[in-house]
Amino acid sequence: MSATAKPIANTRSATGIPTARLITWWVIASEIVIFGGLLASYVMHRISHPEWAESASHTLTWAGAFNTFVLLTSSLCAVLAHQAADAHNGPKAAKFLRLTSLGGLIFLCVKAYEWTIDIREGFVLSSGGFWSFYYTLAGLHGLHVLAGMIIMLIVAADAAKNRELQRVECIGLYWHFVDIVWIFLFPLLYIAR
Amino acid sequence: MLERYFTAASTYAHSIDHLFILIAVIVGFWLIVAEGMMFGLVFKFRARDGRPTQYITGDEKHLKRWISIPHFLVIVCDIVILAGAITVWYNIKQVLPAADATVRVIGQQWAWSFQLPGPDGVMDTADDIRTVGELHVAVNTTYHFELLSRDVVHSFAVPAFRLKQDALPGRTITGWFRPNRVGTYDIQCTQMCGIGHALMAGRVIVETQQAHAAWLLRNSGPAVAGLQSSPASAMDPAMTLAEARP
């Protein structure tokens, strides 16, 4: 199978669900288990270590809150991109996708600023249980944001030329997932006392 | 059955051995039936020309029975086994019979060290007895052990007692045993704990009540040289190994 031509296998749909959407769901499912495992470990430790609340109080809640807002709006753009794609308006979809990844960029900048402050205050990865989980969870999530942005820009480049429009929806789904993960992280890392 | 391969020297050794036999009988029976069935069918239905194969889906009532009946019998067998397993487990790991004496067992790379309360019977007092690699206990005495680890996960195992319990750093795990047979038995470490894992051997010496009392007196107070546990002597095998290692 030459890399350019799609195999027939890719074009079939015995379930009625388009292949691209199906694989996106499976990817998300496997990611859920990974984050699930990490979060579960964190929660179990957190319960058995009430003293971690003190460390948690040093996190910049306002920054976390702002980031939540940023991600939610970016998710909205993803939805709009999907609508544009459904209307076969590639360029419009591309525009919204680029807006979405801009949201991701802002999110990462805020994170970077946040972490510099934390580190200035002397809280690093190895400063104790809470901080280890804090950096690991947020870091893993950050990587997903970054990956999502990059893929999104590639998809946008295609979409602008009205190519592979079905991918717009898929990357959108993925972005919502990344968003939802943060919805879990924010209260558990910043607010929980 | 197990005794044929390993002396039983604690009160609960036999309960484990009997459970082993129970399981052996039950699953052994099934294994023979199943294997016999398989080879029987292979022979009975070996290809012979002029004998067509039968078209069987597996939904036929009279044939389904051959699966469903064993299915329920196996569940019954499982329940019997479980009843035995949980009773044995409960008596060994979940209940702590009143102790006549206590001993502290400390695992570290790569040696077992032990702490017995001296004649005063109180742990962590001047007359405590600390030994390395040798655990002295009295026969027909119920011991509680406090199991701890100084570094990695070890596992305190005395096959003759049918006793096995992992030692975790940061926790003290309590258990019990009651030797009922005078003699000297192996102590093993059964959890991978580094290059000295295979050298982490010890001996448990089960003495008569009198002999043990005498031993306690001999060694109580500021511990006697040779028995005194200094980290160095405990780490010795480690050192030599670390050097020996390429």
Binding site: N10, I23, V33 | D186
Partner: protein, 558 residues
């Protein structure tokens, strides 16, 4: 009709190393897996020699020091599970057979498929590179319990430990990608007319295995990240002195580790199902019941993990719950095995080499299975935990799976893969030369285990009771049997290579089977089907009444 664009015949590199063709990728996985099997077998040879003939020079290796012994055992275990059983059973057979058996031209995402193999290959290289670094490869057992694995000060293999962890993590990623691709392909790309219950059992099993894998590996990937940070960034996730918990790793590991054993069991069961049906010319006895039992096994496999930790310091009350679930899981497995045996009833059984392997699988696996019951009942596990009884138990499951069932599959699909038949006589010699010694290797180990031999010990000199001469005789017997078994593997290798050229040519359907892969030429051309097939019936229509042929292929209209 294949819409494949015509292009010039690609060069060797593009054709064999950079290909997206599922058949080539299957071969890449197969040969990598076989190579790793030989490495893993070589390690078994070395440390068994040390056990059989303590502290003597091992031909082809040298003197086995304690550190080296631990590393050999750890690498043997890791390699055999992650780099032999999984790539060969799931990736090699899955890649080769899924598109062929489903009647489509390739995987749904060929380039993801290629990526999966490339990441897998990388993981192999990372693992092997740990043999070159200072301190040598990791020796903390394939279970890699912290704190031992978390700190170089304890395991003395700081670099090796991290490389092992990275290699395993990469392997997981490779199989996540591959597995997702398999699952999507099977869900969406089946030939028209192939309903859910027209899918061959092997495909069902591979997909179930992938789903189980996907659902269980996540927490361990998270755990791997934590352990990596503990090793390299001095975090304390598993360090009790700093608020961490060593048991957390054990739970994360076994939550994956137990389902993993069924991840490799199910595909093996699938291979055996296909072969039993063909060579006894019978419909599988209760096709759907087999699937139900497989689902039950998959579900239950998530709630038994702590049976590996009965004496690990968990709450003793938990042990009872897990003892119950563990014995419960023996019920569906039992039923599956019995269904296979029932399939033989009323057949006309041809004992060709693949069938011999398949029957041997059932016969041997049952022994491994029933010995699992001794371990599953918490009471006896107190004594048997981490003894050679355990070692024998899981080799009586793993060897049938990763060696016997694999040989069954290889001998059965070899004609399809390479267009020529293997030599029957050599095949039968290899069969008996493998299966008989296999039992002679591991039955003595059951006894040494009952007699108290604990695992991961390079020399029992320290332990008076284990130094009994009788036990040493048993160990030596086992080692000698291994030498015999290994020497017979050369018969297989010779047969494999020789038949590539000189085997008699196979034709499309040498075994007169019903499934779709046998409707295309052997080896299948690029794009598989000249005309993409339509499916009219289930996969095991043998001896259908009122037909001249005793088999009724899936793609023939009635």
């Amino acid at each position: 009709m294949s819409t494949e664009v015509q292009h010039a015949e690609p060069g060797f590199f593009r054709k064999y190393l950079w290909s997206t063709d599922h058949k080539i990728i299957a071969m890449q996985y197969l040969f990598t897996g076989m190579a790793m099997a030989m490495i893993g077998g070589y390690f078994a040879y070395v440390f068994r020699m040390q056990l059989g003939f303590p502290n003597q020079y091992v031909p082809g290796y040298g003197i086995v020091t304690p550190g080296r012994y631990n590393a050999l055992v750890t690498m043997h275990g890791s390699i055999m599970i992650f780099w032999v059983a999984m790539p060969v059973l799931i990736a090699a057979f899955g890649n080769f057979l899924i598109p062929l058996m489903l009647g489509c031209d390739d995987m749904a995402f060929p380039r993801i498929n290629r990526l999966s193999y490339q990441i897998f290959l990388l993981s192999v290289l990372v693992l092997l590179s740990s043999f070159l670094v200072k301190g040598g490869p990791f020796g903390g057992a394939w279970t890699s319990y912290p704190p031992l694995s978390a700190s170089g000060a304890y395991n003395l293999t700081p670099i090796g430990a991290t490389l092992w962890l990275l290699a395993v993590a990469l392997e997981f990623v490779a199989f996540l990608l591959g597995g997702i691709n398999f699952t999507v392909t099977t869900m969406n790309s089946r030939a028209p007319g192939m309903k859910m219950y027209d899918i061959p059992i092997l495909i069902w099993m591979i997909i179930l295995a992938n789903v189980i894998f996907m659902a269980s590996v996540g927490p361990l990937i998270a755990g791997a990240v934590m352990l990596l940070f503990d090793q390299t960034m001095s975090t304390g996730f598993f360090d009790p002195t700093r608020g961490g918990d060593p048991l957390l790793w054990q739970h994360l590991f076994w939550f994956f580790g137990h389902p993993e054993v069924y991840v490799v069991l199910l595909p093996a069961m699938g291979i055996v199902a296909e072969i039993i049906a063909v060579f006894s010319r019978k419909k599988i006895f209760g096709y759907k019941t087999v699937l139900y039992t497989a689902w039950a096994v998959g579900f239950l496999s998530f709630v038994v993990w702590a049976h590996h930790q009965f004496v690990a310091g968990i709450d003793p009350r938990m042990a009872n719950i897990f003892s119950v679930t563990t014995l419960l899981i023996s019920v569906p497995v039992t039923e599956m095995v019995f269904l296979y045996i029932a399939t033989l009833y009323g057949g006309s059984i041809h004992l060709d080499t693949p069938m011999l392997w398949a029957l041997a699988f059932i016969a041997e696996f049952m022994i491994g299975g029933v010995t699992g019951i001794f371990l599953g009942s918490s009471g006896t596990d107190i004594y048997l935990h981490d003894t050679y009884f355990l070692i024998a138990h899981f080799h009586y499951t793993f060897v049938p799976i990763a060696i016997i069932a694999v040989f069954a599959g290889l001998t059965y699909w070899y004609p399809k893969m390479f267009g020529r038949m293997l030599n029957e006589t050599l095949g039968k010699i290899h069969f008996w030369g493998t299966v008989i010694p296999f039992n002679v290797i591991f039955i003595p180990l059951f006894i040494t285990g009952i007699a108290g031999d604990q695992r991961r010990v390079y020399d029992y000199a320290q332990f008076a009771e284990q130094s009994r001469p009788a036990l040493q005789h048993l160990r030596t017997t086992s080692t000698i049997a291994l030498l015999v078994m290994l020497s017979f593997q050369f018969v297989f290798l010779f047969n494999f290579v020789w038949s590539l050229r000189s085997g008699k040519s196979a034709g499309a359907n040498p075994w007169r089977s019903t499934t779709l892969e046998w409707t295309v030429p052997s080896p299948p051309p690029h794009g598989n089907f000249a005309v993409l097939p339509t499916v009219y019936r289930g996969p095991y229509e043998y001896g259908v009444p009122g037909r001249a042929d005793d088999f009724f292929p899936q793609d023939i209209p009635d």
